[in-house]
Symmetry: C3
Subunit: 349 residues, 3 copies
């Protein structure tokens, strides 16, 4: 790993040093585990206490703050952290072996310069792959698939026929792209499979986690928009369209034919029904169940999903329900009897 | 794609034409995107508005209705739609290559006529496969597995030893069939693995989505009944038995030793505990948590699951809980004080 | 399968016989399905009724009880059951083929004695594998991975670079270990991938189910502690540390940087947020959503998770919410009017 002075790092991320600009940094660590050659960062305010005790050589922060270490003050400290991790470590390297003879490549596939295709990868007829794309062992690429430049397909990723991946797309292991949408016509008690004619389009700069399933559309394409980042074990239904730069954390299910705008943030284990419209910059809290359209900019939570603040207030009261019910019972009893003293007195009057 | 007149299509699905029976149809599209050579359909009433604006040449409907396009009136319009998609597009074609020399086939495996087994598929000892079954790259078929006719196993599907698949079974990519049930005996703080002796039986005409895990049984078999259609990322516990023609949409977890009747519909992200009995024709709403037996024909929702209508009413009130609590507080206060005016006055009296 | 007398079985599990000690047992079955050569067991009290009707030759129980069959009375009957299943059936056998020539093994990989590596498995540079480890077809083992003795990696399991597996580890099919953590720095509307430098460490005696995703850490390692048993379709976030001997049933999501103690039991579909601390021996009920630290020994349920008993009481009342709201409305109305008779009279006074 390269070693940089704090001064060099600050210049690299367009930040300022407070403290020893000449200190040498060779690695990145958490506040708790950092030593004098490490740079750390303060992103989660929960860790402010750790800041006071850190043995890091330097800490990336958003503003001047009391700290035993030298500071690298950056406008966007988490972004600066990312830049420094990339500088010091780089992204994963992929072995340069070209196209393995133990891969299975159709004669009709067209593969760009600089691709790595490893053993036991299968590339079907009429596949087109751009430049510098890396295809790991046991990946399957179905007929007529198009894949752009600089993509990475990790082991056992499967791309069904006809799907389209843009440039700089990452598909993690055991993820399935373009499997048939869940579409059956039920007739006289039997479910008849409807051919799914749409494909999956994954736009540029998308990363999809491991063990996901992205269904192809019945008639229209399923689209994962430019710059979206999907976590693991996510299921996207047929014909659903996700706008650019959305974050889907993990274990999310979005049913078919739903439209999601840009820059949405969808937390873990959320479920979203089909055929609805979710606006731009929507935030959906973990485990929410969304059954209605959501306008731009809204934050929702709960099942069925309601405004996030309302949900926070409301769900914190569920624990009080037994007491509420009891209190209500007492009130009803006293009300049915009439307010005891008065009614008795009135009866006596 | 073949071109058909609307008249031909109507005859094919046993429906009636209203409008131009001679119009030529070559493809299928949604109401919004259809052009004059497309046939579309109205299945979801939400799209009635789109019907008025459609440029489709024809629309499949269930009854006569105002529409700018010609109508194909069918008794079961979604079924007619399916039939027409199959007619015009067909199901996925699989390349006819026979048994690849790059596959790994045990000498003791018996493989029926007309099978396609692609590169890097592994077929273990004593496997029996019927006719015309298609096995994609990187599929693993464990020892003693039996697979029927006309099955399709998509890439990286894994069938553990001894499992049985009927005819016309489809297993999608990265799905795992017959992994050991989650069974451990905890003794003095350690969890000891219990051999899982049961197998998985998948009956005829079942489709299982991608990235699912179906556990084998501890002592009894896990059974997925005839005609069931499972979506993606579904987990079925050991020894669970699902009756014929059930629909399980996606991301569902059913724990072990539960019995599910026929023609149930289980929506996304539902969880069902083990050792219970779910009747026939039961409907379980998305994200429900089922912890008790459910009689035939019931619809349930919520966690813990209650009647679907009750749940709908009840969960819509959760948002009002803060106001309910406040109102109750006001009432209690006034009740404890006695009805204020009176009690004060009575004190003054 | 070997045949044993009930006497022999009792001695093997350190239990006592009540009834015919000479009866011959060759297999294990459920109470309902057992015949005279079967031993069965009573673990779930729901099955006490089945006990009376069983045709089993013998039944493993925890204490003397009325039963038509002979009894094997053991201190820990489920543990005794496990021991007997292992004795009579054994664990899965793996074919002894050594290292397949159809596998892809890096020249720099070091593989211990007695390993089985099957066709189409890919073992990358600098991998170290201990003795007697079994690697199924289509498994991928990334560069610099270390795997201990007696491990089993089922088909299409994927281990990303640098991860470490201890001894006796089982990874089921289509599970992904060491995929990058979900870490992006969002800057000016774009999400920038942060290299994930941590690895995944899986300690001894861990089993991980099928179709799971275990993320590597951003800076610190993700750790699955000694003896943990994870079910299927589980997603563990980056840098999360799970202590020894935890049970995670299935479809669970744990976000990043969370710490979980030892001997916790986490039921199906639970979600746990990141950056929290869960104590030892904590029990989390199915579908719970955990957003706060949990002290040792607590049982929680619900979303957000609260004490399990409180949750049970509270959630059972949700169904009454419409009636609660109505009753409250009646009370408020009568209160606003004042207690009718009095206020009217007082106005009249």
């Amino acid at each position: 790993m390269p070693t940089k002075t704090l001064e060099q790092l600050a210049r690299f991320v367009n930040g300022k040093v407070k403290g020893d600009a000449g200190i040498k940094i060779s690695s990145v660590a958490t506040l708790e585990n950092a030593g004098p050659a490490d740079i750390s960062f303060l992103a989660n305010p929960k860790y402010a206490k750790a800041l006071a005790a850190t043995k890091a050589g330097a800490v990336i922060v958003g503003k001047d703050i009391d700290c035993p270490a030298s500071l690298l003050i950056a406008e966007d400290p988490y972004y600066a952290f990312m830049q420094i991790v990339v500088l010091l470590y780089g992204h994963r390297k992929h072995k340069n072996t070209g196209i393995s003879k133990k891969a299975s490549i159709s004669e009709t596939a067209r593969i760009g310069d600089g691709c790595q295709i490893y053993d036991f990868a299968a590339v079907s007829d009429n596949v087109v792959i751009g430049k510098n794309t890396v295809i790991y062992p046991n990946v399957f690429i179905g007929p007529d698939v198009k894949i752009g430049d600089n993509c990475i397909l990790y082991p056992s990723a499967t791309i069904y026929d006809g799907c389209v991946l843009g440039n700089n797309v990452i598909i993690n292991s055991n993820t399935t792209i373009g499997k048939d949408g869940y579409g059956y016509a039920t007739h006289k008690g039997k479910h008849h499979k409807i051919p799914q004619i749409g494909k999956v389009i994954i736009e540029d700069d998308v990363e999809i986690g491991c063990n996901c399933g992205i269904q192809r559309g019945t008639l229209e394409d399923t689209v994962i928009g430019h710059g979206c980042k999907l976590g693991d074990l996510i299921n996207i239904g047929h014909g659903t369209k996700i706008g650019p730069h959305c974050l889907l954390i993990g274990q999310i299910a979005v049913a078919g034919s739903t439209t999601i705008g840009h820059h949405c943030v969808i937390a873990g284990q959320v479920g979203i029904v089909g055929h609805i419209k979710i606006g731009n910059c929507v935030k959906i809290a973990a485990q929410a169940g969304v059954i209605n359209d959501i306008p731009d900019g809204q934050a929702v939570a709960g099942t069925p999903a309601i405004g996030a603040l309302s949900a926070k207030r409301a769900y914190s009261i569920i624990e009080d329900l037994p007491e509420i019910k009891k209190a209500l019972g007492r009130l009803e009893k006293s009300s049915n009897n009439g307010p005891p003293c008065h009614s008795e007195r009135s009866a006596a009057e």
